[in-house]
Symmetry: C2
Subunit: 341 residues, 2 copies
């Protein structure tokens, strides 16, 4: 079923309009009457015309492409974020060119060059390989999500508020000791606020607390081993009293719960656990996990809405340069399930 290429000439003949009129339909449709627009639209259908948007892009500079640079798709957080970003097509109409980084600067820089060569109008970055300073120098509208964002706009979960919610829930559960288990997150990363928010809340509420900030490994099996060590040290250090443990994410919380279940054959009253993210594992765990839910749909939507406003500004005859970076925070939602009461 080879489609013969339909030209402006063919459309002009079919509609009895001039080629100039046809051209105006594609480049400035509102300069035609609604009726004539309809006639041409019908002709395109009748002739089975295949629009070449790339030609249009070259003419008007609007590719309608947005680049997305992700660190991986293994973690549900990133695949769900990508899912929600792609879903904004229905609202904003932008198409997405997607790259998954390797963690190597040279490679990710090459990906950026490729995206720029295809005239992306804007960029959403979740990968943390290339510094925000360098990203800002590429002179394309950028919104970052959950990464270092000193020189670029960003939309993040309100990690501080999330940690506050978690700590307060554990305090309400009459825990004798509150514990936060996390890796040594650098202070310029948004998720560092989970550490800060937990510590501040415990201090403010005069709760006993311990921060266990340690290398938790890079592979699943590594992490499992490290959390096992942490679990036994907590168990030995705080026997017989109620331990309220805030884990850095649901994957870590699930590992801890599996260890507890296998140790005790059930989930003893002396443990309370809160995770972070509300990823599928929080529901699929043997005990559904209480967790600080990130509103990934909202984050994705706000990131695109911000990017669209920046891209629109660029299309104006006299675009205003952005004078102040925007760092927006989205409130998380506490999900109370079976690992707290």
């Amino acid at each position: 079923m080879e489609n013969k290429k339909v030209t402006f000439n063919d459309i002009a003949k079919y509609t009895n309009f001039s080629k100039t009129t046809i051209s105006r339909y594609f480049n400035d449709p509102d300069s035609l009457t609604l009726k004539n627009q309809e006639i041409i639209a019908q002709a395109l259908k009748d002739l089975n015309y295949q629009e070449n948007k790339l030609a249009k892009v070259l003419a008007n500079g609007k590719s309608e492409f947005v680049g997305i640079l992700l660190p991986n798709l293994f973690l549900n957080y990133y695949s769900e974020m990508l899912n929600q970003l792609l879903a904004t097509y229905e609202t904003f109409g932008y198409k997405f060119l997607v790259f998954v980084g390797t963690g190597a600067e040279e490679t990710e820089r090459k990906y950026l060059q490729e995206l720029l060569a295809y005239k992306i109008e804007g960029l959403i970055v979740l990968s943390h390989t290339i510094s925000s300073k360098e990203l800002a120098s590429y002179n394309v509208p950028i919104v970052a999500i959950e990464r270092e964002d000193e020189y670029i706009n960003s939309i993040n979960t309100d990690n501080y508020l999330g940690a506050e919610q978690a700590a307060n829930l554990l305090i309400k559960n009459d825990c004798d000791i509150l514990i936060h288990v996390n890796s040594e997150v650098p202070e310029n990363i948004p998720s560092y606020d989970r550490i800060r928010g937990f510590r501040d809340t415990c201090e403010k509420q005069n709760a006993n607390y311990e921060m266990i900030l340690t290398d938790l490994g890079n592979t699943y099996n590594d992490t499992k081993e490290r959390i096992k060590e942490v679990f036994y040290s907590i168990k030995d250090k705080y026997p017989g009293i109620r331990k309220g443990i805030f884990m850095a994410n649901d994957t870590h919380a699930n590992i801890l719960i599996n260890l507890i279940m296998r140790e005790y054959g059930g989930f003893p009253d002396e443990y309370r656990i809160v995770g972070f993210d509300d990823s599928p594992i929080a529901s699929e765990a043997i005990i559904p996990i209480s967790t600080v839910g990130q509103q990934i749909d909202k984050i994705a939507y706000e990131a695109m809405a911000l990017l669209v406003s920046l891209m629109d500004e660029r299309k104006k005859r006299k675009p205003k340069p952005q004078t102040e970076l925007i760092h927006e925070k989205i409130a998380p939602v506490l999900m109370q399930r079976d690992t707290t009461r």
Copy 2:
């Protein structure tokens, strides 16, 4: 840091070559000596030249775009497949325009039109909304993965072999009754072969078996309820004998294992379970799950390799029409973990 636009004129001046030579560098580099190619390449670097690949696409018709149409990114199978497809950029150099379907024909048809308007050279389809007959009519090279594929090429897991591996493992585990739990999969879907392979193997080996093919719901909570019913009916029907259960996927296997653990406080010797996919939940479950592992990296690579060969054929002066569809199968790998011995 506004980049001034560098033109062919600028490059010509900088290198003392003619504009024609510069143009030849971009459109037919091998017509220049290697030395002159290097001089121009260096000049592009020095001048910070930003290539416009879209212009090139219009000139030579090669967009280097491949469209991907997915049903969702919620299931790890699809997000990992996307991950592996995107990773083939390093090998094949194709860029990916990604759409996630909604299940509505009209919407997904619109996505296809959009992809075609951007001159994709080929298409990878995992979504099952639009029939292969319609897809074939779009006259663009297509490879399907794990969906109805009567009229289009496809790469799938060897589902039949996988079910055979699962059944044989359960037989080796001295199970008294073999059970396969699945939904009522239509016969023209590749994963129907899991049902066929299990049944055939049980017949061949003279094993006692039961097929439980029933609606397993569409949401996680629905599925949980349905599998709960299935679990109690199995428990009542086959007390005291060893039950070898082959679940349709790891998510279902995990639900069953959680039910068993909560019922018995441990994993009793009278159960053996095998899942399918080797998705993360198989490792993250309270008892690491034995499963038929799909080689997603291999499937993605073979799908792109096949697509590239079809796209390359189209670029020839006299492309040969494809006379026979290709349906390739990738062998799965049995992962023996703790739910079998």
